[in-house]
Every structure is written in structure tokens, then in C-alpha cells.
Amino acid sequence: MISLLKKDFKLVTFGTFNKIFLIVFVPVLMAMTGFDFTMKYMYMTIVLSFAYMMVSTSFSYDVQYKTNLLVQSLPTTKAEIVRGKYLFSILVFLFSMIYSWFYLGLLNIFTILKFDLFDLSTLKNAFILFLILISFILPLNYKLPPKVASFFSIFTYVFLVNTFAMSITDIEGIFNHWLFSLYGGLFGIFIGLVLFILSTKLSIYLYGKRA
């Protein structure tokens, strides 16, 4: 399992282009969102986008180079390969949180923007959305042809981010939704984790059937 995680992290960080891309991704995204809407939603958008981009990149390399045959021939199993990808997505989310936090911290230090760096409720909401996002897009990648899967993944990502993270109008109303507010958000995390586990089992089944 650790070997699979190392593989995915190496994939998304190898080469000068990838390294530069990772460094500039957050500031570019911040500039694109224009710094002009509530900081906590910008933070959430950045965390989700960065994590999504990392997971998608690791998939796209496997598609681009047709490396499935190689990976499956290594001392591992198909079930482990799938579990590895789900675990990788969680680790990437944690990394994305810290990484984005670092940039926002810099903006705070230079008093360019004011952001509560310890706003746990934003992190909790981002985590719920991320669990839901991953639960939908990973089975798509294991079932559908790469280009179709990529289209539906982007669609799901844009839908979730637009609906919950970037919707300025009535945003507080959305986060008062029971998914995020019931039992202080614990219910949403529970739902997200149940989806995540079911999605893992579904992906193992789908990948096992794939030649």
C-alpha cells in the first residue's frame, strides 16, 4: 500500500513542470477568484480544487501512458490498487489543507487579506464536500472509458464547487443545509464517510471486472 502511495506522490511531483505547477497553482487560483468573495469560501474552493487536481493528475498519467498492465503486474492486488487511490485522495486533501493554509497565512502576515486560519467549520465543510466528490468521481474513473470519465468527473467537480463552495448568493443558506449543520456537521461527515466506503467497495468491484 505504501508503495502505491509513493508511486502516486512521485507521479504528481516528478519533473520541473509539475513542481512549478504545484507551487503556482494556489496563488494563480486565488488571483483567478479575484480575492473578492468571502475568504473562507475561497479557502474551501482552493482546497477542493487542489486536491481534485492532484487526484485527477495521478489518474491521467496512468491513462496517458497505459501503465495499468505494469502496475497490476507488480506485487500488489487490484483491490489494493483501488484502496491505495482512495487513501491517496485523503492524504492529498490533508496536504492541500496545509498547503493552502500556508499561502493564506502569508497573505495574513502581509495583511493583504484577513482570514481566520483556525476556522474549523470551513475545513469540516470542505472535508464533507471532498468525501462526496471523491465517492462519485473515482468509480467513474474505474468504470468508464478515460475521456468519458474525465468529462463526468469535471462536471461533478464543477457542480459541487459551484453549488456549495463558490455560490456567493445565499451561501450561508446553503451551509445551513442539514448536511453541514446537523449535529454540528458530524452527520455530514458520517454521510460522507459512508459514501466513501461504499464507493471504495464499488470501485474494487468495477476494477476487478476490468481487463
Binding site: F14, Y65, T67, L69, L70, S73, P75, T76, T77, A211
Partner: protein, 283 residues
């Protein structure tokens, strides 16, 4: 080392592997031959559990290939026909991805092979020729103390010099009696140089699995004038090729041609290609 019993796999498109059985002992090279589309790659994918079998048993090192998948793959080195590497990576970067998967990975061995094959580890994989990629695959396959090397068409598309080099490397590997090689190819001349056993499949079915010597002893090419090729003789031949001046056919039992006029026929030892050619006609 490797034992396949009554293996079956059917695809929606109609192609199937039918009741395939053969075995390979420790320390030998088995050539796995058959025409294009005969099921060689499918069989290898079934052995590696990349495809799910319908029925039958595949045992490697005495272990079931599904129940002990990780343990078995840890002891296998594989080389495929096409490159399945991350081509934008250097060979060093790619090695660093593969290395952690193996419990007995040995960097010193890997570096030795890279030096011996004259490969610069900092070169991007996409810059390598097919022959160099094959050598790199071989270096990876040989650097974790694999006991069985599985190769799918390793010499196809290589020029004769590279092919000879690869065969020499394999020949040297087999001097270590603990290593076996399973080597699929349709270039039968390669096997005449190095194989101990030949397993031949056609249309997903086993034609034979014998030692190379047995194959050479069992089969004979018979040549003669067209007028002695009557229906009786025709029935005894596994395959026949006729021209205006004569015929040439394959038999698997010389007793069958007793009674034919010796002065009018020539009996020769066939090449593996002859055996494959004529038996394909039958199958």
C-alpha cells in the same frame, strides 16, 4: 515452478483458451510459441492474474496464483512486448517507483545490469529505442532476485543484433539453476538457440508441450515426388504443401511411412517453424 491445469477462458468476442495444461520445472527455459492471435498473451495475462480465468488451476512456486498473488508476483520478473512505463520519466525515476514494491530489490544488481547494458539511468524513457527499453525492462526484472522470468514477445520488433544480445543475456541468466524463464514468441529461431521446452498453442488450444529434443525427434519432414502422395499418405501427414514438382509434409511418427520407397522420399529434421507451419494448417 509453473503448473497450468485445464485452464479455460472465454471472451465475449468468441475467442477462448480451451483446457490448457502444461508445466515448467525449475532451472529451465520454456518457449511458448504460436501464431499471432493464438492466445499467448492471454495465457500470460491469466498467469499474472491480469485477466480472470473461467476455470482451471494456475500454480506458481506450488502456490495458487490468486490466493498468493502478492507473494508470487514478488518472485516473478516480467518483460512485456510493449513499454508500459511512464515515458516522461527517466529510468532512475521509474526505478524508484518500481523498487519499493519488491521485498528483495537489490540496487547493486540493478546498477550492474544498467552498466552492462550500457544504459544511462538519467535518460528519459521516451528517448530510448525499442531494444534499449527491452534491456531496461530486463534490468528491472532481474534486480529483485526473481525466480521466474515471464517474457511476452521480448524479441519482436528488434533487429538481429539486439535479439542475439537479449538471447545471450537470457542464456547467461539460466546458468543460475534456480531461475526459470517462460518466453513467448513467434520467432521460433530464437528458441532453437536457448529453449529447453517448447509449448505450442494454436487457436487457444494446446498443440504440444514437450522438451525441444522430443519435438525434434518426434516430428519429421518428408519430401517426395507428387505421384507417391496418395490419399493414404495424405491422411498420415499432419500438414502438406504441394508444388508441381513434389510435396513436403510433416509427420509425427516415422512408423507411418514404413513401406514407402526409400529412394523416392527424403526425410529431414524439421525446424520449429516447420512444425508450427504444418500443425497450424491442421488446427
Amino acid at each position: 515452478m509453473l503448473e497450468i491445469k485445464n485452464l479455460n477462458k472465454r471472451f465475449k468476442e468468441g475467442f477462448e483458451i480451451r483446457d490448457l495444461s502444461f508445466k515448467l520445472d525449475k532451472g529451465y527455459i520454456m518457449g511458448f510459441i504460436g501464431p499471432n492471435g493464438s492466445g499467448k498473451t492471454t495465457t500470460i495475462k491469466l498467469m499474472m492474474n491480469l485477466l480472470t480465468k473461467d476455470s482451471g488451476n494456475i500454480n506458481l512456486f506450488g502456490l495458487d496464483h490468486i490466493k498468493h498473488e502478492k507473494e508470487i508476483k514478488d518472485r516473478i520478473g516480467f518483460v512485456y512486448d510493449e513499454s508500459h512505463f511512464y515515458e516522461d520519466m527517466t529510468m532512475r525515476q521509474m526505478k524508484s517507483i518500481i523498487e519499493p514494491f519488491y521485498s528483495k530489490w537489490d540496487n547493486a544488481t540493478f546498477n550492474n545490469y544498467m552498466k552492462r547494458f550500457d544504459l544511462n539511468p538519467d535518460l528519459r524513457i521516451k528517448k530510448l529505442s525499442k531494444g534499449m527499453k527491452m534491456k531496461y525492462s530486463l534490468a528491472l526484472a532481474l534486480s529483485h532476485k526473481a525466480e521466474l522470468i515471464i517474457m511476452d514477445e521480448p524479441t519482436s520488433g528488434l533487429d538481429p543484433i539486439f535479439r542475439r544480445e537479449i538471447l545471450d543475456i537470457l542464456y547467461n541468466i539460466i546458468q543460475d539453476e534456480d531461475v526459470s524463464i517462460f518466453f513467448s514468441t513467434h520467432i521460433t529461431t530464437d528458441l532453437e538457440k536457448i529453449a529447453d521446452y517448447i509449448t505450442y498453442i494454436n487457436n487457444g488450444s494446446l498443440v504440444f508441450s514437450l522438451s525441444k529434443d522430443e519435438v525434434m525427434e518426434k516430428y519429421h519432414i518428408i519430401k517426395g515426388d507428387p505421384d507417391i502422395l496418395d490419399q493414404n499418405l495424405r491422411n498420415k501427414l499432419l500438414g502438406v504443401r504441394e508444388t508441381k514438382v513434389g510435396f513436403e509434409g510433416l509427420i509425427d511418427d516415422t512408423n507411418l511411412i514404413k513401406g514407402l520407397p526409400n529412394e523416392r522420399i527424403i526425410i529431414e529434421k524439421p525446424s520449429l517453424e516447420d512444425v508450427m507451419y504444418y500443425t497450424k494448417k491442421v488446427n
